[in-house]
Amino acid sequence: MDLDPVFLSRVQFAFVVSFHIIFPAFTIGLAAWLATIEGASLATGRAIYRRLFDFWMKIFAVSFGMGVVTGIVMAFQFGTNWGVLAERMGSIQGPLLGYEGFTAFLLEATFFGVMLLGRARVSPRFYFFACCMVALGTMFSSFWILANNSWMQVPLGHEIVDGRIIPRDWVAIVLGPVQMVRWPHMLLAAFLTTGMCVIATGAWYLLRRVHREEGHAMLNWGLGLVAVLVPVQLATGHLVGDYVHRHQPEKFAAIEARWQTEQPAAEVLIAIPDEANERNRFAISVPRLGSFIASGTWDSREVGLESFEPEDRPPVLVPFFAFRIMVGMGLVMLAVSWWGNLLRLRGRLETTRWFLWCGFLSFPTGFIAVLTGWFTAEVGRQPWVVYGLLRTEDAITPSLTGPDVLFSLAAYVAVYCTFIPFGVYYIYKLLRDGPKGEAQAIPGATANRPLAFADEAGTATGGRSGGRG
């Protein structure tokens, strides 16, 4: 078999970025959730909110730490494997990612430290303010990542002078229309991811009949937030679909598995796309619905993949299925949250054990939706890395050989499979043990060592039990 460095580099990027994204997606939502309950604690003075805060704070510290470590790896991927991308598009992507790094540093050096260490040192109001700033900081971090990616999806605000990409209008690059729908879509996805985890944790405690009061509070807050946010997310998702329809028709056709141009267009609900023969097998489709979803009318003409040269078409299988899984997860969240609220209104939440099981088992829905959403966006953009400007196959570092990348990919898999299970097991153990008391730092811990704060987690290494001796 011939080792293709482009293919292997894509696999490597997908691997490291997929492992990275689950942590920030969780962290962004957690930061907002922590600020929310700290606000509730400040407003009501109820002790339960303080216990919830201290508990989720430890989870936040671990997952923030994992996000930082896996994020540093990401910062080097563009240069190591995608050298032509880094060099040709660095004039725009470099500053955007630079701002992301700066945002993260500012956060770590200032309010994050107050949040981790300053409870006893600052006034409750200032502490709440610091929590809000941390939440905002994580959102700004994602803002720059999304600005960078949105520019790769729909490049704008630049000009090409002597073959060089020159930024011309930073406002358009940073605050372009595509960014302004994709960033909220990502933020809501992060909030929902955390919301489903909070729901699942609450349901877990009620199922095990432990931490009853905390479990109730988590379910109430989580179910309420998710029930409101899912419809908003569906609406934002529709706006994201609009930009794809307008700016990336090939991707749109691939997501819909629409091979021929149709008028009016049918909507393929589910099928097995057959890329070799350019048709769908076992398709279940609804006439005219495709036109309505794409253009809002029942008789619009929708382009199919046949309108594009074969070398300009994205793969169909991944965008088609990833998109449907993402939407499916959204519908699961909608069902769980609305059903849960209904039960709650009738006062039967705690006694309906099958629902608690559903809530508990739906903890990965947010993560799956985030991952499949990104698969749709990124695979659907192929064969371009920067849409219309640079093809993925031309973006690779020219000196790389297949064996080089095979080696690095195997090494990443080995290293990640060694240390990520530790982190995930830490989080699992913290969640299982439930709210117990205030987080204790190990000696010498500073704000940029968040892992040092999740104290009880230390037992996961097979060491001493309980807190610090």
Binding site: D404, P443, G444, G463
Partner: protein, 338 residues
């Protein structure tokens, strides 16, 4: 073509961040290297204690170097990371493993051996590949069409291996000075006893490396010829070495570390004299590599806000954890524990 003012600003920021990184992360990597040379648990625990509050913040400066290069000199970012594909991979893994070891070792009994090895090997590998990369740069990096044009293992050659070992020794010297500064009793004596040997080894490796470079590279030699004033840096460097030895003999706390840092500064500036204005010797200059003015200017605003904050934060942490490291170091001095 001359470099613009903004390009010079960014080159200065990156050079300064690189120097700060080498000295700060250098001492904690060096402590990691020395950690592997003793089996005494008490010494090991004390050694980790001396760097516990600092090591992670120190690595921030590496990320500033990387982010700055990507934004301001994308060609250098692409060529460097392409040329050092495997070393960068090893560097990342080294830093990850020692970072994880830091958090887990403290609480772990059964798996302590694993974190001990992780801490030592992670530190040594990170130091070695940085040194090897410097060595490979001194030999010159082939570049075509703004991309690296060599093989993945070009850095595995006698000269980069020599500089890699040199930097491991150099970091160990910084680390020994740091331990002497931050510890008391037996460990302090232990560190003092190692400083002269390490200083001698570093000097020997460096002398061989510099003469080989002047012998090998016509550009470096001609730069050296044109910039005769540059001789002051090696001279100060040798004086700094003497200062290290004096400080060690008289058992001054700060002098060995400070003089080692000065020695690193001189080595850094000597390299600068040889290579300026090349960022990738001998192919890419500062002016060649600079991003468009619109890119440099856009990130400039971020830099003038963020860099002073990061610098202040760094100084603050070092101030909070000043003085000798003791059991439960930082417990009393740490904010929020009063």
């Amino acid at each position: 073509m001359d470099a613009s003012a903004l390009a010079l600003f960014w080159a200065g920021v990156i050079a300064a961040a690189m120097l700060v990184y080498v000295i700060l992360d250098g001492f904690d990597l060096g402590v990691g290297v020395l950690f592997g040379t003793t089996r005494e648990e008490e010494k090991r625990a004390q050694m980790m204690n001396t760097v516990a509050p600092f090591w992670d913040g120190n690595e921030t400066w590496l990320v500033i170097v990387g982010a700055g290069l990507y934004a301001a000199f994308p060609v250098v970012y692409a060529v460097f990371l392409g040329a050092f594909y495997i070393p960068v991979l090893l560097l990342l893994f080294g830093l990850i493993f020692r970072g994880v070891a830091f958090e887990f070792r403290h609480r772990s009994r059964g798996m302590r051996w694993l974190w001990d090895w992780g801490f030592f090997l992670g530190s040594a590998v990170a130091a070695f590949v940085q040194g090897a990369a410097i060595g490979a740069m001194m030999r010159g990096i082939p570049v075509a069409d703004n991309q690296y044009a060599g093989g993945a293992f070009d850095w595995v050659a006698p000269f980069p291996v020599l500089t890699g070992i040199g930097l491991v020794l150099g970091y160990a010297l910084l680390g020994a000075g740091w331990i002497a500064l931050k510890s008391e009793g037996g460990l302090r004596e232990w560190a003092f006893a190692r400083i002269p040997w390490l200083a001698g080894a570093v000097l020997a490796v460096l002398a061989v490396a510099v003469s080989l470079t002047l012998d090998h590279s016509a550009v470096a030699k001609s730069h050296w010829g044109d910039r005769r004033w540059g001789i002051v840096f090696p001279v100060i460097g040798v004086l700094a070495l003497a200062g290290i030895l004096i400080g060690t003999r008289r058992k001054y706390d700060l002098l060995p570390f400070a003089m080692t840092a000065l020695f690193f500064l001189c080595a850094f500036l000597t390299l600068g004299v040889m290579f300026w204005p090349y960022m990738i010797p001998y192919s890419v200059t500062v002016a060649d590599a600079a991003a468009p003015e619109a890119s440099l200017g856009f990130l400039f605003y971020g830099a003038v806000i963020v860099l002073p904050v990061v610098a202040t934060y760094t100084v603050h942490v070092y101030w909070v954890f000043r003085g000798k490291a003791h059991e439960g170091y930082g417990e009393s001095a740490k904010p929020g524990r009063r």
